[in-house]
C-alpha cells in the first residue's frame, strides 16, 4: 500500500492518522504542504524518524523546492522523488490511499 499525505502535520492530523493506520511495510509519500514534514528537526520529522523501521518514506521534491526547503537537511532515510517517481511508487505498490 502507498499512503499519500498532502497536508502539513503542523496544521492537520492526516500524517498522525496515517502513521497510526498504515500497516508496517507500507510506503508513505509526502506531497503538497505535507512536504514540510520531511525537513529534519521538527516534531513531525521526529515522528517520521521514529517509524523509519516500519515504513519507506518518500517526499515529492517539487513540493519541497516550491516551499524553499530544497537546501534543508531532510529526515535521515527519506527518499526524494519527482512526479515520475510518484507514478513509479503507485505502480510498485498494489493500492494507494490518500489521507486528505
Amino acid at each position: 500500500m502507498l499512503h499519500i499525505v498532502n497536508k502539513s502535520p503542523f496544521e492537520r492530523n492526516g500524517l498522525k492518522s496515517c502513521l497510526r493506520l498504515a500497516k508496517p511495510g507500507s510506503a508513505i509519500l509526502l506531497i503538497e504542504d505535507a512536504a514540510v514534514a520531511a525537513v529534519a528537526g521538527s516534531a513531525p520529522a521526529k515522528d517520521i524518524a521514529a517509524r523509519m523501521g516500519d515504513f519507506s518514506f518518500y517526499v515529492l521534491g517539487p513540493d519541497i523546492d516550491a516551499r524553499g526547503l530544497g537546501d534543508k537537511e531532510l529526515v535521515d532515510g527519506i527518499k526524494v522523488v519527482d512526479y515520475g517517481g510518484f507514478v513509479d511508487l503507485t505502480v510498485e505498490q498494489d493500492t494507494c490511499q490518500s489521507w486528505l
Partner: protein, 119 residues
Amino acid sequence: MKFGILVNEGPFTHQASDSAYRFVLAALEKGHEIYRVFFYHDGVNNANKLSEPQSDDRDLVKLWSALGTEREIDLVVCVAAALRRGVKDDILAEGFRISGLGQLIEAGVESDRLVVFGD
C-alpha cells in the same frame, strides 16, 4: 498500467488539481494509460470554461481541456456535484463530459490503480 484519477478540489484554491495534472503527465510520459479522470466535489470547477487566470499564472481549465482533446483522456465531471455548484453544459470546457458517479466506481473497477487528489 491503467490509472483512474479522482480530483476532489477546484483549480487554484487547493493544489489538488495541479498535483493530479502533473501526475497524469508523468504517467503518460512513462507509457501508462489514463483510463479516466473523474472530477468530484469542488473538482467540478476544473471544467468551468469561463475561468480566466492572470496571464502569468497557469490555466488549469485549459491544461485539462487540452489533455482531454489532444491526448484523448476521458475527463468526467460528476453530474450531482456539478449541478449543486452550477457547472453545466453552457460553461463546460471542451474535452470534459458530465456523467454520473457510476463513472467513478467504474474507474475504480477498470483501472489498476485509483489515485485520489483532494484537500
